[in-house]
């Protein structure tokens, strides 16, 4: 589904992604982990085409199509969805109006149904977009949009940060149902929290450090991080090399 080859990317002439390679097959769940500032969120922005980031070298291929140079709205339309770490607010536009722009066929009935699934109060549809929403409400709104857009590839950027256990559990339950119904859909979870393993079992785990993926493995890797931390892992890797 997604293939990133020898990717180099920079922002304001500073190289932030260096020789990154990643391959995600149809229906796979990958977790991308790494310490703060290692380039996790950056990678999600680059995949989704955020204009500030420049791709210096390499390519990103999605469903056999090169997407490096596409505009973010076109990338979205190919079926890539990013759940933001910090979703923005828009004053004066109700949730309902915004969701209607996403998909014209959205009517009250359909939206009410989705809200019910997500445990969102119907009244929230008439509130302004994310304005005054709690962290949990904002993240639910992200997943609501995901269900509306029905993407082929989902990136969850720190979906678990700032949420209580019950909400995280519940959101992952819904995401899993979505994956079950769309078996070809792939998922990339970005987090620095090892407890993610409690909610979902990945096919692969990657450690990103200083702009490149330095380690890949299965869920065992997460337990290792839990034991010796990112620093321990990084040190170990460089020692092994020597």
């Amino acid at each position: 589904m997604l293939k990133i080859k020898n990717l180099y990317s920079s922002i304001n002439n500073t190289l932030i992604i260096k020789n990154l390679n990643l391959k995600i097959k149809n229906g796979e769940i990958h977790i991308l982990m790494g310490p703060n500032g290692s380039g996790k969120s950056t990678l999600s922005y680059i995949i989704t085409g955020k204009p500030k980031y420049k791709i210096n070298k390499g390519e990103i291929i999605f469903c056999k199509k090169k997407i490096n140079e596409l505009s973010p709205d076109k990338i979205s339309k190919l079926g890539i969805f990013l759940s933001f770490q910090n979703p923005i607010e828009i004053d004066g536009i109700t949730m309902f109006n915004f969701l209607k722009i996403l998909k014209k066929k959205n009517n009250f009935k359909k939206l009410y149904k989705l809200c019910k699934i997500l445990n969102i109060d119907k009244k929230d549809l008439y509130r302004f977009f994310n304005l005054g929403f709690s962290g949990g409400e904002k993240k639910k709104n992200e997943i609501l949009q995901m269900l509306i857009l029905k993407p082929k590839f989902i990136i969850l950027d720190e979906i678990d940060s700032g949420l209580d256990i019950d909400t995280i559990k519940y959101l992952f339950k819904i995401i899993k149902i979505y994956l079950k119904n769309n078996p070809k859909c792939s998922l990339l979870i970005i987090t620095h929290n090892t407890s993610i393993i409690k909610y979902i079992i990945p096919n692969k785990v990657h450690i990103i450090y200083n702009g490149s993926i330095i380690l890949s493995g299965n869920s065992e890797l997460i337990y290792k991080i839990e034991k010796i931390g990112y620093n321990g892992l990084i040190k170990k890797k460089y020692n092994d090399k020597k």
């Binding site: 989704t48 085409g49 955020k50 204009p51 500030k52 505009s71 973010p72 709205d73 979205s76 339309k77 969805f81 990013l82 933001f84 979703p87 923005i88 828009i90 004053d91 004066g92 536009i93 915004f98 722009i101 996403l102 302004f128 977009f129 949009q145 857009l149």
Partner: protein
């Protein structure tokens, strides 16, 4: 602002920029007492009116102090290079009817349930729905007609709120005003349909001097709308209007404007100079609401105001102004509290794009007599791009201790983050921008009468779709 963003910087087409070729009688350029006498004569005006015009003219001529205090930069006008009257010869000319059809405001078969007074250059063409209005005793006609037919009302109220000596443009306007609307709502009558005037400048050298007077008698109410467009021209044209509102005891006036004069091209060439004095007086327990959507004109100078003379009266001002290219807007409101328990509200929202300049200038004055009065002011500015600018000049004076004044002001930028978020949901850049702008203007637009609200929304949308910089 990123590069891909700048690529979409295109000039929006001004859809109303066509010119109608009609036979008309146009005065030679320049202004003198002869011109004024001739103007007055053409209009068959009574002698006192001619006298008032001349008095204003001499006042203007002798006290000619060009107002330069506004936050505007433009070439000084040469008042001798303007024609002060252009009247078409045949009011029933099919071309005129076609013009208004083209503007989406058909004179005949008008499906809109509003009464419209059509002003073309210097004269009023037609007023629709007169019969229904007459049934209620409502007078709605051109001011020229009113000066002849309703002399008593005109003598009493014309210039009572904006006297001829009030400012530079009010003097000029009183001397040379050609047409506009007059409206009188009798005691206890709530006007059953919206009244409206549509101003069109057609002739290239003419200055349009609009004069509007609205009187609502005790307990009455009216909702009045005003719209304007002009052809695309290389040179600047002048539109200097005076609007007076008189709200007697327990009455209500809602005055909405959608101003879409030709704004000039993308280099700032051409466009209308819009210098307007709008003011209303509120008697006991009455209410005046000004609502304006300003998207046109190369220069706008406009401060719709309320004099809250009567106890418990209310003044409101809601404005959304969008400036682009090299447009300059200096607008705001004055609320003068005189009566007890008076309250006023000012909500001003400015959106600046490209190289434009958007200024809010306001005065809230609470006199000693205005005990227990209150004002709330909110000024929000939205900047799009990094070449435009926004300014706020609030002036607040309170002369008693029992009154309450609140002022809130915000400046925000449309952030790349917001745009990117919308993009990520498959929404195009232009659409994203118009979502954010329409959200920003939400609480002004939803106060407009429905039909106007749709138009204004469309205007704000179209304007932005291709002019994002």
């Amino acid at each position: 602002m990123n590069k891909t963003f700048k690529k979409t910087l295109k000039q929006k087409k001004y859809n109303y920029g066509f010119y109608t070729k009609v036979k008309s009688k146009t005065f030679p350029l320049g202004l003198n007492s002869m011109i004024i006498k001739r103007l007055s004569k053409i209009k068959n005006e009574p002698k006192w009116m001619t006298k008032l015009r001349l008095k204003s003219y001499y006042h203007w001529k002798n006290n000619k102090k060009y107002p330069e205090w506004a936050n505007l930069k433009y070439k000084k006008l040469n008042f001798n290079k303007i024609s002060y009257f252009s009247g078409i010869k045949n009011k029933k000319d099919k071309k005129i009817i076609k013009t208004f059809d083209k503007l989406g405001l058909p004179i005949k078969n008008n499906k809109k349930t509003i009464s419209i007074d059509y002003v073309f250059d210097s004269i009023s063409i037609n007023t629709t729905y007169n019969k229904i209005l007459k049934k209620h005793g409502i007078i709605f006609c051109s001011i020229s007609e009113a000066i002849i037919k309703y002399q008593k009302l005109i003598k009493k109220y014309l210039g009572s709120v904006v006297p001829y000596y009030d400012n530079f443009y009010s003097s000029l306007n009183t001397a040379v005003f050609s047409d506009g609307s007059f409206c009188y709502i009798p005691k206890g009558i709530k006007c059953p349909i919206d009244l409206s005037t549509y101003f069109r400048i057609n002739n290239g050298k003419i200055g349009q001097f609009e004069r509007t007077l609205i009187i609502v008698d005790e307990g009455g109410s009216v909702s009045y709308l005003e719209g304007c467009t002009a052809p695309i021209r290389q040179n600047n044209q002048l539109h200097a209007a005076v609007v007076e509102l008189i709200a007697l005891k327990n009455s209500k006036i809602k005055y909405s404007t959608v101003q879409n004069w030709y704004p000039g091209d993308k280099h700032g060439k051409g466009g209308i100079y819009n210098f307007v004095t709008k003011r209303g007086i509120c008697k006991k327990k009455s209410k005046i609401s000004w609502i304006q959507v300003e998207t046109g004109s190369s220069v706008t100078w406009k401060y719709p105001s309320c004099i809250l003379e009567g106890d418990n009266s209310i003044g409101e001002f809601r404005s959304i102004s969008l400036s682009k290219n090299y447009q300059q807007i200096d607008t705001g409101s004055k609320m003068i509290h005189i009566g007890k328990n008076t309250s006023s509200l000012i909500i001003s929202k400015g959106i600046s794009t490209n190289y434009s300049k958007n200024t809010y200038r306001g005065l809230v004055k609470i006199c000693k007599s205005a005990k227990n009065s209150k004002n709330y002011t909110q000024c929000d500015s939205l900047l799009i791009g990094n070449k435009c600018s926004t300014y706020t000049y609030p002036n607040i004076i309170s002369m008693n201790k029992t009154s309450k004044i609140e002022h809130e002001s915000t400046i925000s930028k449309v952030e790349d983050e917001q745009i990117f978020y919308c993009n990520q949901r498959g929404i195009s850049k232009d659409k994203a921008m118009s979502i954010i702008v329409s959200g920003f203007s939400y609480n002004i637009i939803n106060k407009l009468p429905l039909e106007f609200a749709l138009e204004a929304k469309e205007l704000l949308k179209i304007e932005l779709e291709n002019s994002v910089g």
